[in-house]
Structures are given as structure tokens and as C-alpha cells.
């Protein structure tokens, strides 16, 4: 097996006096799809946000692609990275948010083109051509000149996925990508994510969609109260959970 892409060891996170993550460890191999499930408030979104340093971790280590997140190791010391160094590492990790967070003042195409042009400094013509392909892939080529406010939630989320993919990320993080959608729009977003997984994208997906986890994930990880309670193949975790807390959670959502 090749080197893991994400290695988390004993990650802890505090919000004031409250301990949100109590030593989370997780390893994700390239091309692997890991779904993180669990009740709200279990710390799964926080853990995902730690992976691209939107949240700073308070203890433990977190490595993506062999590099520490947010720090540089020099001997036995860790040096905090400068903002532009953090930014250039984040550029290799795509993230899709629950509330889409498209840029409302830019058209669909401009949303996709902005970061590759400005951050990676790639030539505009090449990026625009690639954006067309990406929008076609998510089925929204016709909406390229529309503003996000005129799109449905499902369409906005598909644009958000295309926007993240335009950076050619090595890893994609999904933070409850379908939780803010009307039920009839969930399918179109999951369809795009399924396609990504089939193409071999490494994905960490925080989700409540048990059907998606069962069919697409290589591994399911159940988190509760800031800890990873149980992880394993979807059939085992979802079908035959070993831990009573997993069983209790699944009995409520399935």
C-alpha cells in the first residue's frame, strides 16, 4: 500500500473550556473514500475543518501528503507557518461546505476560475477551458453566466464542487454537502460525488446520507463525543456495529 495521504494522531481541539475533539486518529490512503458519520455535536465537522487548518488543533499531529498541517518541523520544534504558506498548502485540498459558500458577486464561471487564476497563476484561457469541462461534468455548462442566487441549492452545490476541483486538489473534504438541500435535490449532488469517487479522488465526507456511505465509502468512521468510536468497512459498521453507541445512533437514523 502506498503512503497514506492523511494521517491524524491524537488530534485534540478545544473551544474555550469545551473539549470538542478528544484525541482523534484516522489514516486515509490515496484514492480512498472515507465517510464520517455521527450525531451532531460529535466533532466530525470540526475534525474535517482541522484537516485544512480552518481550525487550529490544540494537541496531536495532523499530516496531509507528508506535510504537517499549519506547521513546519525543524529538529524537535514546530514552527507555525506564515499565512501565505498555510494558503499554498490549502490550495492542494478541496473543500465543499454545507452552505455552499459560492461567491455571490461572481458568475458561476467566475467562481470556478477565480482561484486557479489568482492562486495558482495559471493562464486565464487554459483555466476557462478547464472550467467549461468541469461545469459540463457537473451538468451546469448552460449556467456559466448565471449568478449563484438564481440557482437551486443542488445546482449551487454542484458549482461549489466544480470550483474546488478546478484547483486540481489531491484530497477533497465534504462537510455535510447535502444537509442544506431540499430532499429532491440531494440525489444530483450525490451523483456527482459518486462519479468523483469512481475516478479515484481521495475523499473525506462528513454526511448523514447512510445510503451514500454504504454504497460509495471504502471505510465508514463513526464519531461520538469527540472520539472515533468505531471504524471499518461500511457493511460492517452500518450493518453489524460492534459498539453499542454506534448501534444506538444507527437505530435512530436508519
Amino acid at each position: 500500500m502506498s503512503d497514506p495521504l492523511v494521517v491524524a494522531e491524537g488530534v485534540e481541539k478545544l473551544f474555550g473550556p469545551q473539549i470538542v475533539l478528544k484525541g482523534v486518529s484516522l489514516t486515509v490512503a490515496p484514492r480512498e473514500v472515507v465517510c464520517i458519520i455521527g450525531p451532531s455535536g460529535s466533532g466530525k465537522s470540526t475534525f474535517l475543518r482541522c484537516i485544512n487548518h480552518l481550525e487550529r488543533i490544540d494537541a496531536g499531529t495532523l499530516e496531509v501528503d507528508g506535510e504537517l498541517v499549519g506547521y513546519r518541523r525543524a529538529g524537535d520544534r514546530l514552527h507555525e507557518l506564515r499565512p501565505h504558506e498555510v494558503a499554498s498548502r490549502r490550495a492542494k485540498i478541496g473543500m465543499v461546505f454545507q452552505r455552499f459558500n459560492l461567491f455571490p458577486h461572481l458568475t458561476v464561471a467566475e467562481n470556478v476560475v477565480e482561484a486557479p487564476c489568482r492562486v495558482l497563476k495559471r493562464p486565464k484561457r487554459e483555466v476557462v477551458a478547464e472550467a467549461e469541462t468541469l461545469l459540463e461534468r457537473v451538468g451546469l455548462a448552460a449556467k456559466r453566466d448565471a449568478y449563484p442566487a438564481s440557482l437551486s441549492g443542488g445546482q449551487q452545490q454542484r458549482v461549489a464542487i466544480a470550483r474546488a476541483l478546478a484547483m486540481r486538489p489531491r484530497l477533497m473534504l465534504f462537510d455535510e454537502p447535502t444537509s442544506a438541500l431540499d430532499p429532491e435535490l440531494v440525489g444530483e449532488v450525490l451523483q456527482v460525488m459518486r462519479g468523483l469517487a469512481e475516478d479515484g479522488m481521495t475523499m473525506i465526507v462528513v454526511t448523514h446520507e447512510m445510503g451514500f456511505a454504504r454504497e460509495v465509502a471504502d471505510r465508514v468512521c463513526f464519531m461520538d463525543d469527540g472520539c472515533v468510536v468505531e471504524e471499518g468497512p461500511p457493511r460492517q459498521v452500518l450493518g453489524d456495529p460492534r459498539h453499542p453507541r454506534t448501534a444506538a445512533f444507527l437505530s435512530k437514523v436508519l
Partner: protein
Amino acid sequence: MRALPIQPASASTADAVEAGGPGGGQQRSAPVVVPLRHWGRWIAAALVLVVAGALVSAFATNPDIDWSAVPRYLFSGSILRGLWHTLLLALLAQGVGIALGVLLAAMRLSENPVTRSVSWLYIWLFRGTPLLVQLIFWFNLGLVFHTISLSVPFTGLTLFSESTNTLITPFAAALLGLALNEGAYMAEIVRGGLLGVERGQTEAAYALGMTPGLTLRRIVLPQAIRIIIPPTGNEFINMLKTTSLASVIAYDDLLNGAKNIYNQNLQTFELLIVASIWYLVATSILTIGQFYLERHYARGSSAALAPSLVEVWKRSLTLRRMVKA
């Protein structure tokens, strides 16, 4: 498109059938809708007209106002020069004020405690003292600093030196006073705008690998502008009028132009009317400009675009209820 009048719920199905065309079933005509009559509005309008008419006639028929002087001085050289100086000062002071405001707001929201404190102190100082006092301060700077010079420390090398009274002309003092004071107010307006942009926008930009500076310039500031424009338009209109304070430090503005004339011919009231007409013309043009600027930056927002300004006025003046959708 013709909008259907509001129907009682029970009638809706029958009307839907009827709307399907002739011979669509039941023969029932839609009930006539009587809009609420606003008698009070008509009475109020009549009262307003009476009071306004009385006021106008009090001025128009006043034997002590020489109305013919107004058009005579409206385009006189002294007045037009003063108008130009007022516009120039307002434009420059507002421009510098906006630039300062953006800088101070970014400093205030930064994580750096030094820039944060400097910004806080600046706003505290300039917002906390009267503008008129600041103007007189700048104008009298020469009393305490006789020369202003720029030199390289520890070398005795002087790059530039000039007497303060030569440098601080009435225009320079007015521009300094107005711009620095405006910067403090604009900083708070810009800060409010930046805070009004959803946190998720910054996170999405960060997640795409954008640096804080790039995020501010490309993502947050363009969205904040929509929030910033209305109060800034207000500030600019205020600025245009506040420039009249500069007449106190002998700056040759519109008010001073009028003053120079009425000090000679004693037609004080007439020349103040002349000056007021020009102030009103300038602020009206700014108001129109602000409307179209707001419309431009509303793109991409879910709110429907307002029609033209004339349309907006027409609507606000209609006394009857609009039946058309």
C-alpha cells in the same frame, strides 16, 4: 400581464375554471374588488398644500427680498469660482477619506495588536474632537511648528524644508482637516461593511488557497461595497455641505464667494439663497449618482433591481393603490 384581483378562497376554484376560457363550465363573474379608500391621505395632502403655499407666498411677496438679485448673482464669477473650489475640496477630501477608511478598517480588523490599537486611537481622536476645532488647528499649525522639514536621522542631511505658513494654505488646511476627520468616520462604515459579509465567504476563499490579502481584495471587499455605498453617499453629501466650514479659515469656497459679495452690497439673504441653490443642485446630482451606483452593485443579489429613478418617484407619489401587479 394583467394581475387577477384578490379573490376569496372559496371562489378560486370556480374562477380557475372560468379562466380556462368561454364555455368552461359555470357562468359566474368575478366579484368587483373595492380597494380601501384612504380619505386621510387626501385630507393630509390638501393641508400640506395649503401650508406650503402660505410659506412660498410669504417669501415671494416679501418686499425686503430682492428676488431679481438671485438670477443676477447665480452665475457671477465669484460664485462659480467658489462652487468649483467647494466641489474640488469635497471630492478630494472624500476620496482621501475613503482610502483612509479602508486602510483603518482593515487595520482595525487585523489580528495584529499594533495596527488594531493605532486604528482605534486614530478613530478615537478624530471622531472625538469637533471638526471646526480640527480645521482651525491645522490652519494655525505654523504657530507651533515654524518649518516643516524632512531629514535623514543621525546624518544632518535635510531633504526638504519649508516654512509651515507657505505649505499650509487655506486649501491645504481644509483638505487635511476634512480628509483626516472623514477617514475616521469612513473607517467605521467600511468596518461595518466588512463585518456584514458572511464568515463562510472568507472560509471558502481560504479553502481555495487564497491568502488573507487576496481574500479581502477579491471576495470580501467587493461584497462589502454593497453595504458601504448607501452610508458613503450620505457622507459625501454631508461632506459637500461641511466644506462650508472651511470659509472660517479663509478658504475661497461657495459660502465665502457669497459672503464676499454680500459684505459689499448687503444683500445677505439673496446671496445665501444663491449659495443654497448651488448646494442643492450639487447634492441632488450626487443623490442620483448614488441611486445608479447602488443599482450597479446590487448585481448577483437576490433583491430585484429597482427600475429607473423616475419610476421610483412616480410610485412614491401615487396616492391611489396600485392595482396593477
